[in-house]
């Protein structure tokens, strides 16, 4: 049944002289190229990209697609990524010509519907976060982190304070310290305790008048709520610093608690996680940020403002950090976010979190007997199981188990993150999975832990390829196809 032609590359399918797209004849008087462009500016040959027909292209990419696992086809409990169902209606609404074919430099009077949508989205995100000032511009979570840190830097500059450090727990996502560095700060790691809470003594020892921001992920990357948060916020604020909330885990607390109410000054959302924006095999996402009123003055330009019944862009913001990307933002993603929020309403969003947390706790209750979780018996939207015992007893790693899951038709959990838990397997079922699916998944995990070591070391067995040689890929990088290599 399987079509092997999928694994040929486009370049190997190319036939000289074959064509896909045909273009209309030029309907204006054609002038000699040499009369329009200087000699030397023109390339004699067009780029040597492959020559294919439309049926070639369709079959190639359709067959290739079947080599992917996806939310539409598989349970995808990839922790921290919130791989929930991506509603089809959102795709349809975002494709309305009245939204899809707008040019970013159209006159404001021709985009009032879009501006109304963006303005309402700003309001909804402010309400969900408890932080009133919103920028929809950042292109992804990491971009939102960096944008907010730039806002913090501008705020301290405005107060004529020079603060050089950004603190984040060792369990933080890699983007946190990386964003700190890009924003011109030194990234300082703060210890977390075995249960995933921030080590307050360590935090205290690192907090000083050089600390600009403490970045915290709460619920944390272990899927727990750090109940010390009020105390942490108090400590950081007393030291004159700001709290940044990495909102990647907002799926646990929608309508339950708000970052602005538990001490955060700034945060980002990941709409491509929490609000079901599809992840697109790597992106696009969006990374809207919400900040306090005071910090609002420093947000990137422009923001959408409402003047009576009219909407406009406000670009006159003297304290703004400026622009963080071209044009307004990943609007297509924001439209989907809007659809998602309007579909749920306040009650629906709370149900989302309740059921995400219910599913995660249920799954935890079914697996912790054979895959212990360092964080204990309870979690919020996700939990981290550790294969450290099995690794010690039998040499079977988290990676082995993850790979074997693929054979049973499940995407693997996130493995080896957070780095603070040995042999970590971070499992996030999301609210859009059923008890049946969770039961079957738990049973499969249990079965796997009883399978022969070699079977696990060599897994997966049923996928198109077995484990790739990643060392070779990095040592001798082959990053593009070349004709010579394929002849050999």
């Amino acid at each position: 049944m399987r079509n092997t032609s999928a694994t040929q590359l486009l370049f190997e399918l190319s036939q000289p002289g074959r064509r896909g797209a045909l273009l209309p004849k030029c309907d204006v008087p054609v002038q000699a190229l040499a009369s329009l462009l200087p000699e030397g500016a023109i390339s004699e040959q067009p780029p040597q990209i492959p020559e294919l027909g439309e049926p070639d292209v369709v079959r190639h990419f359709t067959n290739l697609s079947t080599l992917n696992m996806s939310v539409d086809t598989h349970f995808y409990p990839l922790g921290s990524c919130t791989m929930k169902y991506n509603p089809k209606r959102n795709e349809r609404e975002a494709s309305l010509p009245g939204l899809l074919h707008l040019h970013p430099y159209q006159r404001e009077e021709t985009i009032q519907g879009l501006l109304a949508l963006l303005s309402e989205l700003q309001d909804m995100l402010a309400e969900i976060s408890g932080l009133p000032a919103v920028s929809l511009q950042p292109a992804a979570g990491a971009h939102g982190e960096w944008t907010a840190l730039m806002v913090a830097a501008a705020y301290f500059r405005d107060r004529q304070e020079k603060r050089t450090k950004v603190l984040a727990p060792d369990s933080a996502h890699g983007t946190n310290p990386a964003s700190a560095r890009m924003a011109g700060f030194d990234a300082v790691s703060v210890k977390s305790r075995a249960n995933g809470y921030v080590d307050l003594d360590d935090l205290r020892s690192k907090l000083d008048d050089q600390t600009a921001v403490f970045m915290i992920t709460n619920p944390s990357t272990l899927g727990i709520f750090d109940e010390q948060i009020a105390e942490i916020a108090e400590m950081v604020h007393t030291a004159g610093g700001l709290i940044y909330l990495d909102g990647a885990n907002m799926n646990a607390i929608l309508g339950v608690t708000r970052p602005g109410d538990f001490g955060a000054d700034m945060m980002h959302f990941n709409p491509h996680k929490t609000f079901s924006g599809p992840h697109g095999g790597g992106g696009p996402g969006a990374g809207p940020i919400c900040v306090t009123e005071t910090l609002g003055a420093f947000l990137p330009t422009p923001v959408v403002v409402r003047n009576g019944e009219q909407y406009a862009f406000d670009g006159n913001r003297p304290k703004s950090i400026g622009r963080v990307r071209s044009f307004f933002g990943n609007v297509g993603v924001l439209v989907r976010t809007y659809c998602y929020l309007r579909t749920h309403g306040a009650d629906g969003l709370r149900r989302v979190s309740e059921n995400a947390v219910l599913n995660a706790n249920y799954l935890l209750s079914q697996v912790r007997h054979f895959l212990p979780s360092p964080q204990g018996e309870r979690c919020l939207h996700e939990f981290v199981a550790s294969a450290a015992d099995i690794k010690k007893e039998r040499g079977v790693s988290a990676m082995d188990i993850a790979k074997r899951l693929l054979d049973y038709g499940y995407h693997a959990p996130t493995v080896y993150f957070p780095q603070t838990v040995p042999e970590a397997m971070m499992i996030e079922p999301t609210e859009t999975e059923s008890k049946d699916t969770l039961d079957a998944f738990a049973a499969t995990l249990f079965k796997i832990t009883g399978e022969a070591d070699d079977l696990l070391h060599d897994a997966p067995h049923s996928t198109r390829i077995s484990r790739p040689n990643e060392v070779q890929a990095a040592r001798k990088p082959v990053l593009k196809w070349s004709p010579a290599a394929s002849d050999a």
Binding site: G40, L52, R89, P97, Q106, I128, H279, K480
Partner: protein, 459 residues
């Protein structure tokens, strides 16, 4: 709730298994003082039918390209998108998957990334490409950060003022806290100033300059003297970063043949809708020797345990999840689906399709420029050769009036430049893609010059 599967009975059974009595009990780890004691305030939930109606109403309050004839450009273009792009990119196996962390079940995405990287190298004649960044503006900033890291120079960065003004603003933001001086060099204000720009730039490059940033065709649509600039930069040990237009490379000389070190582009024109500015994709490619300083995901070829060719994410020690604050960038989520669109687009167009597309843009833009400047009211602001867009100076100085009037007549006529360039407040940028017909161009000319009969032209 529309997407929650568990029935009340199932929920009950699950709570029991967990050992709690209610959903609320699942949240006891959140101190009650911090919990929200009221419902969120937002509009009521909408069913699919209601949402559909509501969105149609919002969309009806916009006037998109298609309803209006679009002559707007400046980094976002109304190019034709073949149906195969949407048909394939809307397959759930692509758009509902995550970044390919498990290569055994992501070969579709990984192979498409590898094909994308290859196509970008073929298009630009550069050695290596990453798998996409966010957009043209942030890609430009990332290229500059990369140049600073490659050259170990962080004192100064030079940028021509003909580079997209928003990209320059983004760059300014990225450099704000890094003690790097961003120097903007005037390039083109009327007349044949191309050599002046090169001289200005050459004089500014010093031993602490990381790179020079040039765009060609530039924001005004004109070609820059990239080769001379590259030479000037290299003489002082700086890199040349070039912003290019992917469609123009169906026709124009490729950056890799002009000694450019890092190229970046807005990839929207390769099969992505305008979507009010995003999501698009940032293209970035560079010389082989800089590969370990490239930001973002990269797919690489390898073999599996049975020796079969396959693809993985590679050179990951550059990235944030391994190197944290020492990473080449903080980027994690990129624009994968839009890189896939670009891949499908290029595969569908082929070399001839791409060549003809760029020739149509070139011919139609020149026809439009010639027709427009038949009116006494309009002149071209720049004399340099241009590709698919050009700057028109309104001698009556009423750009706003012209644009407003044209809009009423169903035309998105141009992008006024005064908001970015004080000396071009009487100018607007007109873009003509392959989609524009002669009839549409003639309509534009009639609308704009028709107004000229009423407006006073200074003698």
């Amino acid at each position: 709730m529309p997407y929650i599967l568990n029935t009340p009975d199932e929920q009950h059974a699950m709570l029991e298994a967990i050992g709690v009595s209610s959903l609320d009990d699942l949240f006891t780890s959140i101190p009650s003082a911090l919990r929200l004691d009221r419902p969120l305030e937002m509009g009521p939930a909408l069913t699919e039918m209601e949402l559909s109606r509501h969105m149609a109403e919002l969309a009806a309050r916009n006037q998109p390209a298609g309803e209006k004839v679009c002559f707007l450009g400046g980094g976002s273009y109304d190019h034709f998108i073949p149906a195969v792009v949407d048909a394939i990119a809307s397959r759930g196996e692509y758009y509902t998957s995550y970044t390919p962390y498990q290569p055994e079940v992501s070969q579709g995405n990984l192979q498409a990334m590898f094909e994308y990287q290859t196509l970008i190298c073929q298009l630009t004649a550069m050695d290596v490409s990453n798998a996409s960044l966010y957009d043209g503006g942030s890609a430009t900033a990332e290229a500059v950060l990369m140049a600073m890291s490659v050259t170990k120079r962080s004192g100064k960065v030079l940028v021509l003022d003909s580079v997209h003004p928003e990209y320059r603003q983004v760059l300014e933001t990225y450099l704000e806290n890094l003690d790097t001086e961003l120097v903007t060099v005037a390039s083109a204000n009327g007349g044949d100033v191309k050599n002046i720009a090169v001289e200005n730039i050459a004089a500014e490059i010093d031993a602490n300059t990381a790179c020079v940033v040039v765009q060609s065709p530039n924001f005004f649509g004109c070609l820059e003297d990239v080769e001379t600039l590259a030479r000037a930069a290299h003489e002082k040990g700086a890199l040349l970063v070039m912003v290019f237009d992917p469609i123009s490379l169906g026709l124009l000389k490729r950056p890799g043949e002009m000694d450019v070190d890092i190229v970046v582009a807005e990839g929207q024109s390769l099969g992505s809708p305008m979507s009010f500015g995003g999501p698009y994709l940032g293209i970035m490619a560079c010389r082989e020797r800089f590969v370990r300083r490239l930001p973002g995901r990269i797919a690489g070829e390898t073999v599996d345990r049975r020796g079969r060719r396959c693809w993985v994410l590679t050179l990951q020690t550059r990235e944030q999840h391994i190197r944290r604050d020492k990473a080449t960038s903080n980027i994690c989520t990129n624009q994968g689906l839009f890189a896939l669109r670009a891949t499908i687009y290029l595969a569908a167009m082929g070399p001839q399709g791409l060549r003809e597309t760029s020739e149509l843009c070139l011919q139609k833009a020149h026809y439009a420029a010639a027709e427009l400047t038949k009116s006494e009211r309009f002149t071209l602001a720049f004399e340099q050769p241009f590709f698919q867009e050009f700057v028109v100076r309104d001698r009556a100085g009423d750009v706003e009036g012209l644009m407003q009037r044209a809009c009423g007549e169903g035309l998105l006529a141009g992008v006024p430049l005064g908001r970015w360039y004080d000396d071009l407040s009487d100018c607007f940028l007109v873009t003509v893609t392959e989609k524009r017909t002669r009839a549409e161009i003639d309509r534009l000319v009639r609308s704009l010059s028709g107004v000229s009969e009423q407006a006073a032209i200074p003698a």
